[in-house]
């Protein structure tokens, strides 16, 4: 067989002719047919060039020349149409038609090889994509619901990514996705956000997750979503506050709200910090509103008080306490909470109303973890005092073995610094009790010498046997009430003023205790005249006809409203705290501008309360008067520390 040979000149000639033929074909055919032809020729050309390089391997490489040839003779002319062809097919595929993906891959490949991919193809393709989705978005946004729209958006993005892997250059993916996102998600963001509100309202967890997934990839895309989330929670919380009728249910509702939206943060928003922040900021807004005259700090303390009095299973209690302590983080007046809590803790401990000591310790541990040791140190001291008091009581009872003239007495010694401050009263003790107190004093002297005991009779409890005509009943009353009742052992009838004089108590105390004994549920004393209010002209008599089905009854003495005192005490402590902070800051800075001083003050004190700017200013003025600071005469906005 004779091998056909061609020389270079001839080969070159053939190629030129082929190219001219190709151009003719390409000019005359369109779209897909044109592309097929192009594809064919391109593939063939590549093969040819490869062969040529092999044949003429001794010459300088022909690849470049071959490509250049193709580019100059063919590509430059057909590129516009080729591009149009490809884009048309892409759009067809988007509309759901089946297309020849390998065809597109090869044609796109040609652009790449020509080193004109971006310039001659990608730019245009991206613009076309943008336009395509722009018109789709406009249509869909009118017709579709937010969830449906997002489903479509998610699907489109998925398909576009797939498109890239099949026949586009990988470098296009990022740009393509951005275009699609922009048209579908960014342009219509506002309308979609309205949808978010509805999703939150209707608890559409899946749709919210989708929204998160979609917007997470857009720079700052989540910000408006977070904003809507925060506003929604704030609105719900505020509504709860406004509708609240009484305290305990409100706290429970806060807890439920928090649980609900924390689930959203964890599940829909994959624990993203932005949404944790939104939740926190929302709660900080409405958790600090007053409800019916009470601050949220007080409400929370009352709630804890009720739980700890009622008790329950360990697990349930622990869980609730955990959630309550979390709510405390949102309250700015933490010091106010601490004081209310302390007052109520005192009552629980001293009147034996606490359901379970372990629960008491449990909440203190949690408070300590969240707010630091200083927050709970006094409360822990109080609980400790009670434990020590029990030991002490045992020792006292041993001491009493020899002394049988004394009635049953148990004394709880409290460490002054830990407990809230109580007014000590000069109650005239009944004779029976006086001896007890003396005996205890003697006992206490044997244990410690350098301590001073102040007796707080307002906190005492007494068991008195009431020998009523129908039957004998044991009365559990406060020491004040007992002292009043015992007066009737030596007199049948006593007037208000006589009682007051003999007891040596204030009007307020006398009215309260007489009311509890004569006008409340159990009428141990009868009053004349029989009006509801206690007046200084009233007279009282032992009601020997009194009876009850029980053999022992508790007659509580309602506590004085502590709210005013708590607020006063906390305000006073705050003034000291602000003073201390200012002095500390100025001492280390020596010279500081007003704004900076205020800022650092707020920062330092922020753990316990949010100081009022005016309050800080007043303390600065006071410290100037006391020569701790002075104002710089040259710069009146600056202060100097005076050593």
């Amino acid at each position: 067989m004779e091998r056909k040979t061609i020389d270079l000149e001839q080969g070159w000639d053939y190629m030129q002719k082929g190219i001219t033929k190709l151009k003719k074909i390409l000019r005359e055919t369109h779209d897909e047919f044109m592309l097929r032809e192009l594809e064919q020729r391109w593939i063939t050309h590549k093969v040819m060039v490869r062969w040529l390089s092999r044949f003429f391997h001794y010459l300088p490489p022909l690849n470049g020349v071959g490509l250049t040839c193709f580019r100059d003779l063919v590509y430059m002319e057909v590129r516009a149409n080729a591009r149009k062809g490809v884009i048309t097919l892409i759009d067809k595929e988007r509309e759901g038609e089946q297309i020849d993906r390998s065809l597109l891959k090869n044609v796109v490949d040609m652009f790449v090889e020509m080193d004109k991919y971006e310039e001659d193809f990608e730019v245009q393709m991206l613009e076309d994509t943008a336009n395509y989705y722009k018109s789709k978005a406009t249509k869909w946004i009118e017709v579709d619901s937010c969830p449906d729209y997002m489903l479509k958006a998610e699907e489109c993005l998925r398909r576009e990514r797939e498109r890239v892997t099949h026949y586009l250059h990988s470098s296009t993916e990022q740009k393509l996705v951005e275009k699609v996102q922009h048209e579908l998600l960014v342009t219509h963001a506002n309308q979609l956000l309205d949808g978010v509100r509805a999703l939150l309202r209707d608890d559409k967890v899946e749709d919210l997750s989708r929204m998160y997934r979609l917007y997470q990839k857009i720079p700052k895309g989540l910000d408006p979503v977070e904003n809507v989330f925060k506003q929604h929670i704030t609105a719900e919380g505020t509504a709860l506050v406004q509708q609240a009728e009484e305290a305990s249910s409100l706290v429970r509702k806060f807890i439920e709200l928090h649980d609900k939206y924390m689930t959203y943060v964890n599940d829909c928003f994959i624990n993203h910090t932005l949404f944790h922040k939104a939740l926190k900021e929302a709660f900080e807004v409405f958790c600090n509103k007053n409800v019916a005259g009470s601050s949220s700090a007080e409400l929370l303390a009352t709630f804890c008080d009720n739980i700890l009095k009622k008790g329950g299973s360990d697990e349930a209690i622990e869980e609730t306490l955990e959630k309550v302590v979390k709510l405390l983080a949102y309250i700015s007046d933490k010091d106010l909470y601490a004081e209310f809590y302390r007052k109520k803790l005192a009552r629980r401990l001293l009147f034996d109303r606490s359901a379970n000591e372990d629960h008491e310790k449990c909440i203190l541990t949690k408070l300590k973890q969240q707010c630091g040791g200083q927050f709970t140190s006094k409360m822990e001291g109080m609980v400790m005092d009670l434990t020590l008091a029990r030991d002490n009581q045992m020792k006292f009872e041993e001491y009493l073995q020899d002394n049988t003239h004394v009635i049953d007495l148990s004394v709880t010694v409290l460490t002054t610094g830990f407990w809230p401050s109580y007014k000590s009263s000069d109650l005239n003790l009944p004779v029976e009790m006086v001896k007890c107190v003396e005996v205890f004093k003697e006992f206490y002297e044997t244990k410690t010498k350098h301590r001073k005991l102040t007796w707080i009779y307002s906190l005492g409890t007494c068991h008195i046997i009431g020998k009523f005509e129908p039957k004998t009943i044991e009365l559990v009353v406060s020491t004040y009430q007992a002292a009043a009742l015992l007066l009737f052992n030596s007199a049948d009838k006593l007037s208000y003023s006589e009682i007051m004089m003999q007891l040596n108590l204030t009007h307020e105390d006398v009215v309260r205790l007489l009311h509890s004994l004569s006008r409340a549920k159990y009428k141990i004393l009868s009053k004349e005249p029989n009006t509801t209010t206690i007046w200084p002209n009233d007279t009282f008599e032992f009601n020997y006809k009194f009876t009850d089905k029980m053999r022992r009854i508790k007659i509580p003495l309602p506590p004085v409203d502590e709210r005013k005192k708590v607020i006063e005490d906390v305000d006073k402590d705050r003034r000291y705290a602000i003073d201390a902070a200012i002095v500390r800051i100025m001492k280390s800075s020596k010279v500081l501008g007003h704004q900076q001083l205020v800022l650092e003050c707020v920062q330092q004190l922020g753990r316990m309360f949010k100081p009022d700017i005016k309050a800080i200013k007043k303390r600065i003025e006071d410290l100037i008067t006391r020569d701790y600071l002075e104002r710089d005469q040259e710069n009146p906005n600056t202060f100097k520390y005076l050593a």
């Binding site: 704004q595 005016k614 007043k618 003025e621 008067t625 002075e630 009146p636």
Partner: protein, 199 residues
């Protein structure tokens, strides 16, 4: 000079003496010029001039005869034209009212009088308003317990009044920034002014 000082013996022994001096030079004892005179003398105790202080004052004024003294005192208000001098005098005026040893504040009544004497000529409108505010505050204090209220003011607060009049335009209170280091009483005063304007 000797003669003059001998006359002054009559004048400076007591507040009555001061009054006599005032009659002599024909200037009212509540006139700002008497205060300026005290300032020139660096007088420490209100109502009394010591011998050294007296000497100092006469020397400052360059007066060694009665007529010269009278003329000098009459022209004393011109001494305050220089801002640094005025500020020094302004602070002195407050200091002069501290009669007890450990006293740091001056009661509102005296403050109001002092404002009239010292600042009225330069800021008549502002002084009237401030005095009205201070007096109202005092009245309210008697009727209801207003926690943030003042019965006496310290030097820092006194100084802040002059600064306030100098720096803040009463017609432009919207630009007043209470987050700056103005004293609390000035903050309250501005709030009161704004309320007043509304009604």
């Amino acid at each position: 000079m000797q003669l003059l000082i001998q006359c002054c013996v009559l004048w400076f022994v007591s507040p009555e003496g001061i009054e006599a001096l005032c009659n002599d030079v024909n200037v009212n004892h509540t006139d700002v010029r008497m205060l300026i005179f005290a300032w020139k003398m660096k007088a420490e105790k209100q109502g009394y001039f010591s011998k050294d202080e007296w000497r100092r004052g006469l020397k400052c004024l360059g007066a060694d005869t009665r007529p010269k003294l009278k003329k000098a005192i009459e022209g004393l208000d011109k001494e305050l034209k220089v801002p640094e001098c005025f500020e020094d005098f302004y602070s002195y005026a407050f200091q002069y009212c501290l009669t007890e040893e450990k006293q740091r504040s001056v009661d509102i009544e005296t403050i109001c009088e002092l404002l009239n004497i010292v600042l009225k000529s330069e800021f008549p409108n502002q002084v009237n308003l401030l005095v009205e505010y201070l007096k109202v505050g005092k009245q309210l204090f008697k009727l209801i317990y207003v926690q943030n209220d003042y019965r006496a003011l310290n030097m820092d607060q006194w100084r802040s009044f002059y600064r306030f009049f100098k720096e803040v335009d009463f017609h432009d209170l919207e630009n007043y920034d209470s987050s700056q280091a103005w004293t609390v009483i000035i903050d309250n005063f501005v709030e009161w002014l704004k309320e007043k304007e509304k009604n």
